[in-house]
Symmetry: D2
Subunit: 406 residues, 4 copies
């Protein structure tokens, strides 16, 4: 009987794997590790259902890829078995380079390297381990494969990655108005002159997709409480590093994490990669559970804030935060806690959140009209989809600790 595994997915129904190589990749410890990385980082502090893993998202995106390739083949697009396997592997592994808490900690743990680069490095390791069978996947991932649409399915403004995470995040968080017509988009995909396009009759579904994405961004991913939690997490690691650099080695409690966090690595070799791949959310949570009892008051405050969900206040606004407010709040907290101004920087800080409905500089969403015309979605005549679409919205925030008597 043919090889066949089915996996229950409350979002897409059943995910089927009938290729032994793909199952081998799924079974690899580096992929299994994604079970222990939450797809939505700290969002579960506001949306308690948002606890699904990166592994689940990767399987979902793989499923959509499978459907999309099937649809395209039905429409006469030529896709070989090798290309199909390559595209599926590429999407399965597209996020394998994420570390603990994904985006939130990305810049702290492996400086200068985004998760895409790490995904790429991991894919190359696996390619060696598996006798070069991942070469097509790598070429597609790097966009060096001739059939561009395969890469566009993995990385673009309408790729199966986005389609899955929007659908999945909306499902698990319970924000049903964020639900996109993901199965319909897949049915509307087509290839024209080698590029991925959407059939004309899919325009309204695409509009709705863009607006839902925007809603998810501001209502979920950048919800002020989520933002506060994720920034607190960043400050915890920054404070630990600050302490370490000052000579406090009591913060060093986890070899792999310490190596990356305190190590100031210039580059990542095979051995560093191996260490990176041992890390997941549990390492960060469990070290924070230790640091909560650390003698440094600032570190301890931040860790308890996160673990007990007594979070720092965060105010999000359209205008810049004034320098005066920051200074005043820092001085106040420094006085209350008898800590230095430098310490107060970890308890009162500012930042920005930015989002575009549509980004003209990224892989575009092209609409193929019945008459053969091709238009970027931002050029389609509509009172919704227009030039403003691509103006980014930027918001500013201040995040600050208040003592219980506050």
């Amino acid at each position: 009987m043919a090889f066949r595994k089915i996996i229950n997915d409350p979002v897409h129904g059943f995910v089927t794997v009938s290729d032994p190589l793909i199952y081998e990749i799924i079974s690899h410890p580096w992929f299994q590790r994604l079970r222990r990385i939450n797809q939505m980082a700290m969002s579960y502090l506001v949306y308690p259902g948002a606890v699904h893993s990166r592994l689940h998202h990767a399987l979902g995106a793989y499923h959509l890829m499978q459907n999309a390739l099937y649809e395209l083949k039905q429409k006469g697009v030529e896709i070989t078995e090798d290309e199909e396997q390559g595209a599926k592997i590429a999407i399965l592994l597209h996020d394998v380079g994420h570390g603990p808490f994904s985006h939130a900690l990305e810049s702290l743990l492996v400086k200068n390297l985004g998760h895409e680069t790490l995904s790429m490095m991991i894919m190359e390791e696996l390619n060696m381990e598996m006798q070069g069978k991942l070469q097509t996947a790598i070429d597609i991932f790097k966009n060096s494969y001739p059939k561009k649409f395969l890469h566009q399915l993995i990385s673009g403004q309408l790729d199966v990655d986005r389609m899955d995470y929007l659908t999945r995040d909306s499902f698990f968080s319970g924000v049903i108005e964020g639900m996109i017509g993901c199965d319909r988009i897949v049915k509307m995909l087509t290839v024209h002159q080698g590029e991925l396009m959407v059939e004309e009759k899919g325009i309204y579904t695409i509009e709705e997709f863009l607006v839902s994405r925007r809603l998810m961004y501001w209502q979920v991913y950048q919800h002020k409480t989520v933002l506060s939690a994720e920034m607190t997490l960043v400050k915890i690691l920054e404070r630990a590093n600050w302490l370490y650099q000052k000579g406090d080695h009591a913060v060093d409690q986890n070899d792999e994490l310490s190596h990356l966090l305190f190590g100031n690595l210039k580059k990542v070799d095979r051995s560093e990669l191996e260490k990176f791949c041992r890390l997941d959310d549990s390492d960060v949570i469990s070290i924070i559970k230790k640091w909560r009892y650390h003698k440094d008051q600032v570190l301890s405050i931040l860790c308890n804030a996160l673990l007990n969900r007594k979070l720092l206040k965060l105010r999000l606004q359209n205008e810049h935060i004034t320098f005066e407010e920051v200074l005043e709040k820092r001085e106040s907290i420094a006085n209350q806690l008898s800590v230095s101004q430098e310490d107060a920087n970890f308890l009162v800080f500012t930042g920005e959140a930015e989002n575009s409905l549509y980004n003209l500089n990224n892989e575009r969403i092209n609409i193929l009209f019945k008459n053969g015309d091709v238009k970027d979605i931002s050029q389609v005549d509509s009172p919704l989809i227009h030039q403003n679409l691509s103006h980014p919205v930027k918001k500013f925030y201040i995040c600050f600790y208040e003592t219980p008597l506050g």
Copy 2:
């Protein structure tokens, strides 16, 4: 034990009725008649699941009203029992004046009177029958009741009517990207200075609501096949009337329908209202099933087109249909069928479809900001919600019969 009826609703879960007067209204033949009027007219020819009734929609809107009033009371808004009953009755009956196939035939059956006027007349009849117990409902419906927000819940750009029908139509048609966050909107409602408002944190959900509504409009309600079917239905009744006025009384097969359709009534009195309330979709379908065998070729063609779903072609475009095209198509079909130019008008015709994302002249959607400011949703600073929002989109269509060898 207290009076209590529960009704299964796949959309909202369970609808509860605990007020005997409301149950009496639901049990009234004029309300029960709504079981036989399809909420989405001919949309089921494209979306086979879209066969839910106006009665079901009325119960769903009543359920949302119940939830909305509960939420508002929790927020401290004063609502008496009489007002609660009135608002619930008003929403239950808001569409009771719809005739067969609702909007599609509205202007043909009772000229000059919209369905709201008929709903009003029916409510007044019921009020007499029920000893004046519907007076508050009538005052709210007519917007003569002092607490304006009660009327706004029934009739506005964010009323429970729209919330239910968008949710329900999306559910039954299977267009999941049309799903709005209806429970969330209800939770975000508030009353400020006597007017219905939405809390600031509901802005993205409202945006999404407007875009979903637009999607449903073009993708479902005005889908070209639906439009063709509904216009064919109109042409059938117009043709029958044309034949009747020419003296062909063989088209007169249903007393109540004939009375309204051929009668050219100037006004509707109690007895006409009674006749109107006997009509439902089944009368129209069954007369069309007779007319399909009528000797008039045009009538017979149109009836068969509808019943067998061999519909007239319809082309929807952004530009006006040229006079030349219409003439040419009419001449061609007149020749093929050996009918007159006048006859051909029933087989080749044009029209317009128009939709605004948001209408500045209607009851507006007001956002209440945390600082107490109130802004119309079209004034909220956002790259999506902006002045263009209220520009109507207009499309033009030509609809034409093609012979099987066409």
Copy 3:
């Protein structure tokens, strides 16, 4: 580009048709007519959402057939293109012989012929019309095709027909506890020694399927109010026939219906079949709307009861209804309305409802164990699935009219 139609289905997602012959069958007036026959007859009087059509069910069952065949092929079962087409056509047309209100009126309109026989006759007509292309479908439907499992997929205790209607009826009525794991059952299907089987690991899902079916039977299909409405419908037609046979030709208002109802046909030839295929629910509803004003009091009472949902009372019990109770109730209503005892028989009557969890005499559900053993589901060792499973449950009811002052 390849032929391809997609149809939105809120139950299964999208239904895809890529075979022009199948699309031709779907487009045939005899199939389109199923749009006007409600799948659940009068159940919508209790479950307002239960208004989906037989056409929608047929498309859904076709979709499950497509999935089931795909799964079996993946498991190495040989299925040719001709067989695949045949099985799909057979399931599409399995219910095409249903008349208005399906089972409820089956025995009244075409005596002695079940809907399967009519489906068969219609398939044979279509086969002639389409140059013999339906032959394999007919052979599969009649169970004369060598690969028995194809017939078992269409007609058995675990066929795609049941899987679709249970899922669909549960979805539209909102009885979520009736939901079966239909996608999972499809994945668990296999073929062993030419027969359809379920893999061992599907046992619990099958148990749940049987119990859900039982729940739907008693809670929905045979809900006492539904039963009352459907029996009232039967009595209306019986009364009209009784009047007709007594010489009252005023009940004759619809040629096709009258022909079947009053005609006492001994057999159905091509021309009768044609007439039968013109009928749908709208004919019955619209004649009842006329009969409500008929001068016969009994007919008028029954018609109004149905149209206004002022239904006859119905009591369902485990014991037989006593003869005394029936007599007493008939006498009482005869007195109140001043009608004869014979008339009273139409207003007070009894009946039975029966259901088995599992029927040993029907196509069985076979479980294929990993060790190669095959067991009927009723032989599987389990405290739930045991010999009692196949004992039918029988209930008895009395249905009786009460005057408004009753």
Copy 4:
């Protein structure tokens, strides 16, 4: 404005908290800790979506309690505000005594004490902290409160705990056939002679509830892969303890965990309770991530098996596992790995899984018939619900490690 928090729940819609005391309890670190305990332990290794937390379940059960109390009050059952608050608090905290990986590790971490006892102790601590405001909740939880039905809502065979976890586990795992009619059960609840009952018309929904529970038990909770993973987890902790007792203190890497695991505590005082409440899943996962590099081969094998999902094989059968098979497998693995027979016990072991559809010795499910009769569900006349219902099903398993070349 009144106090009010709403929490998104993809399962029940929105959970509302309008009582500041309840919000204070939810905000307590001991309750927040439940965010870090997975409701379904290791089930996510088979069902990747099953990653929801105990906190989410507790909120869901609280929501159902709120609905159930509302329904009962509507039916005339007297429930005071204090009782309502008490019942809600009791259900919120009913599982607060669960430690890491819940049932799986329960007997290892706090010997002799079930999680209910720990929940009780924690509630008493909180009661002191909150000035006795939890007294009614405690009385209800302990079943010492006069109105027994309040306790039955929390702990019985049809309590809101089971209703929520079955619904939630089915939702997140994607096993839709496990879905129960939870909203309908809540509507069917009533109180008779001080006891919780189900109205007669709820019988089929209760049957379906019992069968769904059974399905979830064997298909999800005791799925052989889940069982293997959870037993591996147990063996890991047992092995670590075995090493510790032999003097290998390198396994002691987490103070709180070590204290409980290696401490052989006779009783739990306030300070032990405090330590217990610091533990959650992350402590166990992170210590396993350290132990995977431990020099003891057995410990390292088991840890890697779990982390990389290269699990021990597990065979589940109706018959006892023979002593011979166990011996043979132990000998074989001992030889292959060059370890002792005693070591092999950790790599080859047996166990049992047992489940009753219905337990006659537990709080029963009583049906209240319309005529006032009360019957235990197992006494209701039905071919499904009968004496066998309460016979437990027992299965036996052997779980054994195979070397990669195995």
